[in-house]
């Protein structure tokens, strides 16, 4: 056989003579040659980058997701700085002149003072309700509460879903059967009924409780998704390699398998969160969520539903913020899914398309010329 010769031959190509033998051995056979031999064209895009960096780069290039990330950040900053923080015993005052609990005099029937031409914010830019609450303060407080509920629900549901899903998928057998039946039971429970009963009994327990409660019911989809992923990954050879290396079950699940399902988890979590803001609105609208004098976006809408024809601004602003939060979270989730999907391939840019057209024309003309 001539393997030795082949190797020697490629060393000669790979390095100029006169280097020390280690370098020769290292660079020759593999470092340079093999990579050139095999590197497929698609790899150029990801050369020299870690997986995390590739994902980040793809995400930052997703225009819709980036715009939505900025909008959501603005909403969060606006809500939390304007009204300050008043939760879990911490109190910091915001910069807005009114708080959500203050009841100033009603001016001009509560009409919004915001006008764009000429630009003027006025004393109550989003108007006042019948009693005199400043709507901007109300909406900001509502946004705060709704966001808190959304993120709590997202964290709780993700935690439960990932844990149960991965355990069920990895161990299989009776553990899988028990956990999946538990999931089925949670799915068939009539959600709004439970919400109504719980809301009635522990009513007014605050947004934190509501968030955790929602999270405790919304984990089922994620659990099933993660279980499916884990079932597939469990058969991959790197998991067997880890077993042979002596890794424990916990290490295999948490260090080897779960990091590979992160795409599914993030996407599902963001979708759950954007669904939660609507659910919270619905529950508060029905009167089982956040209670007055505190407020949430859903509650504001519920309180003023009768005023829709007379004072529509009481409706517009909380509605707008619900839509904005739900949409931005959805788009961010979309961007993350694209970023984590390695099969996602972007089409041609405008410049590339123009160059392609020119090049093809030129080459075809050349070929035709030489053929005739």
């Amino acid at each position: 056989m001539t393997f030795g010769q082949l190797n020697a031959g490629s060393s000669d190509v790979g390095t100029p003579g006169g280097e020390d033998p280690r370098n020769l051995a290292l660079q020759s056979a593999d470092g340079l040659l093999e990579q050139n031999d095999e590197a497929s064209i698609e790899m150029h895009e990801v050369e020299g980058l870690s997986l995390g960096r590739i994902v980040t780069r793809r995400f930052f290039r997703h225009r819709a997701a980036m715009i939505c990330l900025i909008i959501l950040a603005i909403v969060v900053v606006l809500a939390f700085t304007s009204q300050g923080i008043d939760a879990f015993g911490v109190q910091i005052h915001g910069w807005w002149m009114w708080t959500y609990a203050q009841v100033p005099d009603v001016i001009n029937g509560g009409e919004p003072t915001l006008s764009l031409v000429p630009f003027n914010i006025g004393i109550h830019p989003l108007g006042q309700d019948t009693v005199g609450h400043d709507m901007f303060a109300q909406v900001m407080r509502g946004t705060q509460q709704s966001l808190m509920i959304v993120f709590l629900a997202g964290i709780v549901s993700t935690f439960i879903g990932v844990t149960l899903g991965s355990i069920a998928g990895y161990f299989g057998g009776w553990i899988d059967a028990v956990l999946m039946r538990l999931t089925d039971i949670t799915i068939i429970v009539p959600f709004y009924l439970i919400a109504a009963i719980v809301g009635q009994t522990v009513g007014g327990a605050g947004p934190a409780f509501l968030g955790i409660f929602l999270g405790a019911l919304l984990w089922t989809t994620l659990a099933r998704l993660v279980r499916g992923e884990v079932l597939a990954l469990r058969e991959r050879e790197f998991v067997e390699a880890a077993k042979v290396a002596g890794a424990s079950d916990a290490r295999i699940i948490f260090r080897h398998i779960l990091p590979n399902t992160v795409g599914v988890i993030i996407v599902s979590a963001t979708l759950t969160m954007s669904a939660t803001i609507l659910t919270e609105a619905a529950i508060s609208f029905l009167g089982f969520g956040v209670r007055s004098p505190d407020t949430s976006l859903g509650l504001i809408i519920s309180q003023y539903q009768a005023a829709f024809s007379t004072r529509p601004w009481l409706f517009w602003w909380p509605g707008l913020f619900i839509v904005v939060i739900a949409l931005t979270i959805n788009f961010i989730g979309d961007g993350l899914r694209d970023a984590f999907d390695p099969r996602q391939r972007r089409g041609l840019t405008r410049r590339a398309r123009r160059e392609r057209a020119m090049e093809v024309e030129r080459a075809t003309a050349a070929a035709a010329g030489s053929a005739s």
Partner: protein, 557 residues
Amino acid sequence: MSTPNPAPTADAATPILQVERLDLDFWVDGVWYPAAKGLSYDVKAGEVLAIVGESGSGKSSSSMALLGLTPQNGRVAGSAKLGGKELIGIPDGRLRSIRGKDVAVIFQEPMTALNPVYTIGFQIGESLRTHLDMTPVEAEARAIELLTMVEMPTPETTVKKYPHQLSGGQRQRAMIAMAISCDPLLLIADEPTTALDVTVQAEILDLMRNLRSRLNSAIILITHDMGVVADLADKVIVMKDGAIVENGTVDQIFARPTHPYTQQLLAAVPRLQLSDREAVTLSRGSDAPVLQLTDVAIEYPKHGRVPAFRAVEGFTLDIHPGEVVGLVGESGSGKTTVGRASVGLLPVKEGSLVVQGVDLATVSRSKLREVRRSIGIVFQDPGSSLNPRFPIGQSIGEPLLLSKTAEGSQLAHRVEELLDQVELPRSFRNRYPHELSGGQRQRVGIARALALKPSLLVADEPTSALDVSVQARFLDLLQGLQRELQFACLFISHDLAVVDMLAHRIAVMNKGHLVEVGTPDQILRHPKDPYTQRLIAAVPVPDPTEQRERRESRRVA
């Protein structure tokens, strides 16, 4: 039963396909990367042109570009004329009427190329009815005719079967029947036998040779297997990095390759030597075997309504320290099952499987973990055997970390040592698997398997996913490491030539049973069992003249 080809270009003088200065580029990250550069070749009726090259050389994508099947980010320039008519740059509608009718494709993996929810008959009928005016009844009759032509057993019943009900070889026959359904002028066969076992491969190659003379189509054969080229091709093009480096007749290329790359490619192909040769001798002491399997049976447990499946039965084999034993057999013969059971990944149902004096059939979980430290395993698929989220250094270091043999700087030092041993640059420890080529990943796999200095290494088809030249370098490395570190090795492979190179002894498996064990000379040069004889006869030899003789002798036998 063959129908005369209606092609106007059937006379041998004019080529069916004329490709001239074909360029193919892909737009990646702001730059055009060439996948094919100025390809020019032509194929005549009844002629087989083989396009040979390693993965990434552009042989598949340039052929698909003829059909306009280029990914969205690709551009094609140049000229390709089929029977005098230009193919490049014509509208999609015209291309669609050419695809499947004038140009047909046989794909590598028939399981994925056939739609699992339709019957074979329906799928053949579909391509017939798209291009020809036929009633469903006529189409089915023609489908049966075609299946008879590709020598499908019981075509009348097969026509109503679904792809999963057929074996790999039968699926490939169905695929071929579909491709020839409209009497194509040009047939593109993209690695048509790579996914098949050698004996099945031999049958499919026979069939294709048979059909070539009957249909008088031009055939483009895309492959990396020099044996297949020697068996089937008339002309050969060798491609490297998107360009043609050499072309000529098959005898020219094999007998007098002029380009260094072609020479290198041919030298890298492991050859099964059928004449006697110097035996690899092993001075075996009286040491106790590292791995001892006695009457082992391995079962896949019953799953729902699927009954338990006995993959291996009555299997007996010893491996002594420092010995390399090759385990060969076709897919489904249970060879991988034996390998996985040897590292304790599958439970042993009957018999005893002793590793280093510990019986894995009755071992406790904690004891198993301890035994595994003396076993390493290299997996088949380098793409899936490394955790994509771990840097290389972490993957290699994991066994060391978990067995608490090394920590901190000591661990880092050992990882570097292992990278040196497998001839990878030390800087690779911070890279991720997706940045490495297949051959490099497989080296990482070996480094990890050797991290704990095992006394037994199980290598499960470690080279089947690699290109020939990469495979050659990999085997060279493995052989060197084995000599240096003196571990025992169970080398599982379907490639007899590879096993011939490495092994001190060879064991042949068929349908879960051990057929024959012996030295390479006994097994490969003087096989006793008829199954082994058949296996050896089916291996294509990368030499057209010798392959022709072997083919004749096989036909006579």
